[in-house]
């Protein structure tokens, strides 16, 4: 056997191994996709026949044909807008302080460790906190505001961490050149750091809000409602959200309610999809704006 024959044989073996490896990687990638597709197909098959305009514009009912999801959709939208309005300014401001202003030292380290730990606390714990703090102590009652404040606490660590990552990704040279030209720290933040990090901050915010829109446990803790046949008119009104309505329907004995739950899941997925889409569009918009 000549050296070149041996070489070719080994090359062949290495290529086969390489192929096997890439197939494994492909399977790993598709396994997530398969789960998602199965879920979507299953839900659409069950729920499609319940999905119509009436379903979107009616209040919950004991009669499946009359039941709708209006109050839950409006409740979820309110909830998300309020949560974003509370958590984004606070989260981005905290990240700016921690990254750009805070003196390095043990205090910063402790704060950082705490934020990382907060991101891992189970959501129901935030519900208990929200119940004692916002619902009872601040006497906000079982209102949208109490719910949004609780949700804001829940996603604040995620927003802070992702905003910090975004700020860290900006090259130090940008800051130094701005300082060299006589810019103050505030000017650097507003004219360079925020516009440059906006796309990645936006991505983090949308991911955090997507988590918030699917959460049920903390809202059940603070007493978000299940049957509500009117729309909230202020942040102090009672409310319900999509996941609670879906959960309630899945627990019913009648098969028709399982169909309604599936239709509710489709709506929730559409809302999530729209949120992710808007995140991508906003990111592209800011990236283009930055390029100019």
């Amino acid at each position: 056997m000549t050296a070149s024959q041996q070489y070719n044989e080994r090359l062949e073996r290495r290529r086969r191994k390489g192929l096997v490896f890439s197939v494994l990687l492909f399977l790993a990638t598709t396994s997530g996709l398969v789960v998602l597709v199965t879920l979507i197909v299953d839900v659409v098959v069950q729920g499609a026949q319940w999905l119509d305009w009436e379903f979107l514009t009616r209040f919950p009912s004991r009669i499946p044909e009359n039941a709708g999801i209006k109050s839950a959709i409006v409740g979820s939208l309110w909830m998300i807008l309020l949560t974003a309005a509370i958590s984004v300014p606070i989260g981005v401001a905290s990240a700016l302080y921690l990254e750009e202003y805070a003196p390095r030292g043990w205090l910063l380290k402790i704060i950082q460790i705490n934020i990382n730990n907060l991101a891992g606390i189970p959501s129901v714990v935030y519900g208990i906190l929200g119940l004692t703090l916002f619902v009872r102590f601040f006497a906000l009652g079982r209102s949208l505001l109490a719910g949004a404040l609780t949700m804001a606490l829940l996603i604040l660590p995620i927003i802070v961490i992702s905003a910090q990552e975004a700020l860290r990704a900006i090259p130090e040279g940008i800051r130094e050149s701005a300082f060299a030209l006589g810019a103050t720290r505030r000017q650097v933040v507003w004219s360079h750091l925020l516009p440059m990090s906006a796309p990645s901050i936006m991505t983090g915010v949308i991911l955090a809000l997507s988590r918030a829109i699917g959460e049920t446990a903390p809202l059940i803790m603070i007493g978000a409602l299940t049957f509500i046949a009117f729309l909230p008119t202020s942040a102090l009104d009672p409310f319900t959200v999509l996941p609670i309505q879906i959960f309630n329907w899945t627990a019913r004995p009648q098969a028709d309610f399982q169909g309604l739950a599936a239709a509710g899941i489709i709506i929730l997925m559409v809302v999530l999809f729209l949120m992710n889409l808007s995140a991508i569009l906003l990111r592209n918009y800011f990236e283009k704006y930055r390029a100019r």
């Binding site: 919950p60 004991r62 004219s191 004995p253 704006y289």
Partner: protein
């Protein structure tokens, strides 16, 4: 790039958010002369379908002006809110507990206890099970009691085939589990722990209909919706005065209590001070007048017309306290109870000693 342009864009975004929030909140003003105000209800998920149905019809009947809201925190979770004065009405799938009575006395919260319907617990097996048609309460207890070693149908009753016995039941947080263990095992929560438990009764239906050796229990509404893939067992409580021999759960046997001990009354608890408000008073009236057909609609067993009338009278007289005090009430019908405890004195005397001096607090 300028910082001004960036901040103006941010301001635009914030403005959009505010606009969207305002747009989603356009309200309809309540009409003059109509009932308005809010009724806040929370509590049991078992009672929820009835209260939801009543709330729906009540709001339609009053032009959607009153705001009735219903939550599902569970009976216990609901009571903890009710006894803090956070809700007007609590849905309960069991009678108020002595610890909750103590809390009520401590907080100075009074309540009116009103039965609204019955629920039967169905004991079911797989449809292929051709050996079991009826179980006695003693057999159920032997199977379910804490530390029970029965793992085979032949051990449950001599003559049953030598097949593995697999048990299904609601999770320990549910009122259904509490009631079953109390009725069968003698104490709330007294049961073996090696059974397949789920908080979602539909999961239990799935499990039992796929397992020929299964034995399980849950609310009767779940049997009725799945009657084609389950087999319902009759129950013999060994008390001939209370229905002789095996009793099958039906509208009649659950309603008159002969399907003992697995039929239970469902309640609402109303705060008398909340009932001062016209909207709450009207809602409770509407509830007791319409609970019959509505509870049947959602899979429960209505009380008799006479019992609803008595419950309404109890509410009108604002009779405080519970009808289920320390003394045992086995075999006493709801009608007798409602009649016996119609005056405030009789009712508070029957309740816990802790409650006998609420006025002093």
């Amino acid at each position: 790039m300028s910082s001004k342009r960036f901040s103006s864009r941010l301001a635009l975004l914030a403005g959009l958010f505010v606009l969207a929030a305002a747009a989603s909140g356009c309200a309809s003003e309540p009409v003059e002369g109509q009932l308005s105000g809010s009724v806040q209800i929370d509590g049991s998920s078992t009672v929820y379908p009835i209260t939801e149905a009543v709330a729906e019809e009540f709001m339609i009947a009053h032009g959607r002006a009153p705001r009735v809201t219903v939550g599902v925190s569970g009976t216990g979770g609901g009571f903890s809110k009710f006894l803090q004065g956070e809700t007007d009405i609590n849905d309960a799938s069991r009678v108020i507990k002595s610890t909750e009575l103590a809390l009520a006395a401590e907080e100075g919260i009074d309540f009116i206890e009103l039965p609204v319907a019955y629920d039967g617990l169905a004991v079911v097996v797989h449809p292929d099970n051709d050996w079991a048609d009826c179980l006695t309460v003693d057999e159920l207890r032997a199977i379910w009691e804490p530390g029970s070693q029965i793992g085979n149908w032949s051990e449950a009753r001599p003559g049953f085939p030598d097949r593995e016995l697999s048990l299904y039941g609601p999770g320990t947080d549910s009122g259904t589990y509490d009631y079953f263990t109390e009725a069968v095992g003698g104490a709330s929560g007294a049961s073996r722990s090696d059974f397949t438990a789920s908080e979602d009764d539909n999961v239990l239906v799935q499990g039992i209909s796929g397992d020929p050796d299964a034995l399980g229990f849950f609310g009767i509404a779940y049997y009725e919706e799945n009657a084609d893939r389950l087999k319902l067992l009759s129950i013999d409580d060994g008390d001939p005065d209370n229905g002789d021999g095996c009793v099958r759960p039906t509208l009649t046997t659950v309603g008159d209590g002969t399907y003992a001990p697995l039929s239970r009354p469902l309640f609402i608890y109303v705060r008398p001070d909340a009932a001062e408000r016209e909207v709450v008073r009207a809602f409770v009236h509407f509830y007791l007048e319409n609970a019959g057909p509505l509870s049947r609609d959602v899979g429960y067993v209505p009380l008799s017309d006479e019992e609803y009338a008595l419950a309404l009278e109890r509410f009108e007289r604002r009779v405080p306290g519970t009808m289920f005090g320390e003394e045992a009430h086995v075999g006493v019908t709801m009608r007798e109870l409602l009649t016996r405890y119609m005056s405030p004195e009789a009712s508070s005397a029957s309740s816990d000693s802790l409650l006998s001096e609420p006025e002093a607090l």
